[in-house]
């Protein structure tokens, strides 16, 4: 509070200079906040130790909002503001009673994906902290103890898309229990394992009454994004775990470390991506029948007709956020391409863990125009990661700032980086 006067003074100065001035005065950290980046890119640490960050969104005025998995200061949303114009948050406020993952600004509200509902908090223009009077947008989601994150996307045509993860590994009768058969048909697909479409501005919608199942067969879609360049929905999926543990006669630990693929989907309405009956083998480049449903790692069966991913990644890397870049700051090849934040693995043990990085995929229209590449690395702070906890930071959320910079939030301490480019 004692620093309020200079802060007010500075904010007046900034307002009189206009927001664009920020860019010129922002100096990257000498070590880029510990990140390794492509040539021409640099980074600064916006905030640190703000809580277990999940997803992140940035308002037109540069205000930043981060969702928390676990309450900090008895609140579930962190609000960050930079009044000095150096890119670093000097105001950190906590608000909101919900915890969860999805967080996006839309129509003057901060939409929040609490694990069993989508709510929204009102934003007053110019004020950092949203009002407390939240409204219920969508509810009735299953009460889940795994894969409960509720990310949301907006198409700009009055609709909201919510991923509902399936609370299951492969729809076995007894969850994650060796020898338990897969349920067929899988009843979980009725209210989870897909994306549901709602109105973006109607209160108190019920998933099973007002929601429409838009796509299905997605085990755990931790992020979705509406790509305005082509007007399509995209979803990233966490593939299944424990192939070698439940089927040691078919898979060994090395197979399990690589299989199945993590997937990026072009989620056109009505698509079925195959979970729990199928998984995608990125080495064989095909969807195969899961072992709980009679598969042997080779046969395709009913999976021949399921939709393939448009990009596949090694197993268990955990794609936790997705963003299509529309800014002007980065070079032309990044425009309309996809960034994905990988949280890093746990289910590659006893093989080393990996994947604690942000990747980029160039796009031409609705499809990738090249392979995926590591864009930002070094979050884990170490190369050799045997246990997940060895990673110092784990990228979990992505957002684009009004100046075209890319923000990344970490789930361990809530460290926030701003990645910039200058030619």
């Amino acid at each position: 509070m004692k620093n309020l006067f200079p802060a007010i003074l500075i904010s007046f100065l900034i307002f009189s200079c206009g927001q664009q001035e920020h860019k010129a005065t922002q100096v990257p950290d000498p070590d880029n906040g510990g990140l390794t980046l492509p040539e021409g890119f640099s980074a600064l640490v916006v905030a640190d130790e703000i809580g277990n960050g999940r997803h992140i969104t940035v308002n037109d005025n540069g205000d930043i909002y981060v969702s928390l998995r676990q309450q900090a200061d008895n609140k579930g949303i962190v609000c960050l503001r930079d009044t000095a114009g150096d890119g670093k948050a000097d105001i950190v406020e906590y608000t909101g009673e919900h915890t969860g993952t999805g967080i996006k600004l839309h129509k003057g509200y901060l939409y929040f994906g609490a694990d069993t509902a989508i709510v929204r908090y009102p934003i007053t223009p110019g004020e950092l902290v949203p009002g407390n009077e939240w409204q219920m947008i969508a509810r009735g989601f299953p009460n889940e103890r795994q894969h409960e994150a509720k990310p949301m996307a907006f198409d700009g045509k009055g609709n909201m898309y919510v991923n509902v993860g399936a609370p299951s590994n492969a729809c076995m009768e007894q969850s994650r229990t060796k020898g338990s058969p897969g349920m067929d048909p899988c009843p979980l697909l009725e209210n989870s394992g897909g994306t549901w479409k709602f109105k973006d501005d109607v209160l108190n919608q019920e998933q099973m009454i007002d929601g429409v199942r838009y796509v299905t067969g997605i085990r755990n879609g931790m992020a979705n994004f509406w790509n305005t360049a082509v007007d399509e929905l995209y979803v990233v999926q966490h593939g299944r775990d424990q192939l070698d543990q439940f089927f040691p006669e078919l898979y060994d630990a090395e197979d399990n470390a690589e299989l199945p693929a993590e997937e990026l989907f072009l989620a056109t309405e009505g698509s079925d991506f195959g979970w729990p009956y199928c998984y995608y083998d990125q080495l064989k480049k095909k969807k195969v029948l899961g072992p709980e449903y009679g598969g042997d790692g080779e046969i395709q069966g009913r999976c021949e007709t399921k939709s393939d991913p448009i990009m596949a990644f090694p197993g268990h890397l955990a794609p936790n956020d997705l963003l299509f870049y529309t800014g002007d700051m980065f070079p032309e090849r990044y425009k309309n391409g996809a960034f994905i934040a990988f949280h890093g693995s746990w289910n590659r043990a006893p093989e080393p863990q990996k994947g604690y990085f942000v990747v980029f995929i160039p796009f031409d229209g609705s499809l990738p125009s090249g392979d995926w590449e590591i864009f930002a690395d070094g979050f884990a702070g170490t190369e050799n990661i045997l246990s997940t906890r060895d990673a110092e930071h784990r990228p979990c959320g992505l957002a684009q700032g009004p100046d075209g910079a890319l923000y990344v939030v970490d789930s361990i301490d809530g460290k926030v980086w701003k990645i910039m480019y200058s030619s």
Binding site: R145, Q146, T177, D241, Q245, L386, S387, T388, R389, D390
Partner: protein, 152 residues
């Protein structure tokens, strides 16, 4: 800054003296080779402990090779009150599984641990005895008959 540094030094001394630990320090404490012959000898016997085989094939996948678990999902089992306290509760977790939010060392974990009742009484006794005497835990063994008593 000076004050902060002094406090840090004080804590570091305290931790070193008490063999204490916290999550940030966990890695260095566990991976540091201990020079005392007693501990080395214990580590060697732990390597051949019959419970280690069960741990490596059933538990390691989620609780990790060093017992540190997965943040937000699978709780750590090193220096754990769950592991060191009530053996009955511990056996029940193995037999019946556990799910939903649980707080361990100030962090919330939310996932599902499936029942492991398919393991034999001997295997469960072995793995629990192993875990209770490894990963910085220091509690007595569990016998197959303790497990049998709690089977339904």
């Amino acid at each position: 800054m000076k004050y902060k540094f002094a406090v840090l030094v004080m804590f570091a001394v305290l931790f070193a003296a008490c063999g204490g630990n916290n999550q940030k320090n966990k890695k260095s404490v566990i991976s540091q080779p201990d020079q005392s012959a007693q501990v080395t000898e214990k580590a060697a016997t732990q390597k051949e402990h019959p419970g280690k085989k069960v741990y490596d094939s059933v538990c390691l996948v989620c609780h990790m090779a060093d017992g540190s678990g997965v943040p937000g999902m699978h709780p750590p089992i090193y220096e754990s009150d769950f592991v060191n306290s009530d053996p009955e509760q511990l056996i029940k977790i193995i037999l019946e599984g556990m799910s939903g939010k649980v707080e361990v060392k100030g962090e919330i974990y939310n996932s599902i641990m499936p029942p492991q009742a398919h393991l034999s009484n001997q295997q469960i006794a072995d793995v629990l005895s192993y875990v209770r005497s490894s990963f910085g835990n220091n509690s007595g063994p569990i016998l197959p008959e303790d497990v049998q008593k709690l089977r339904k």
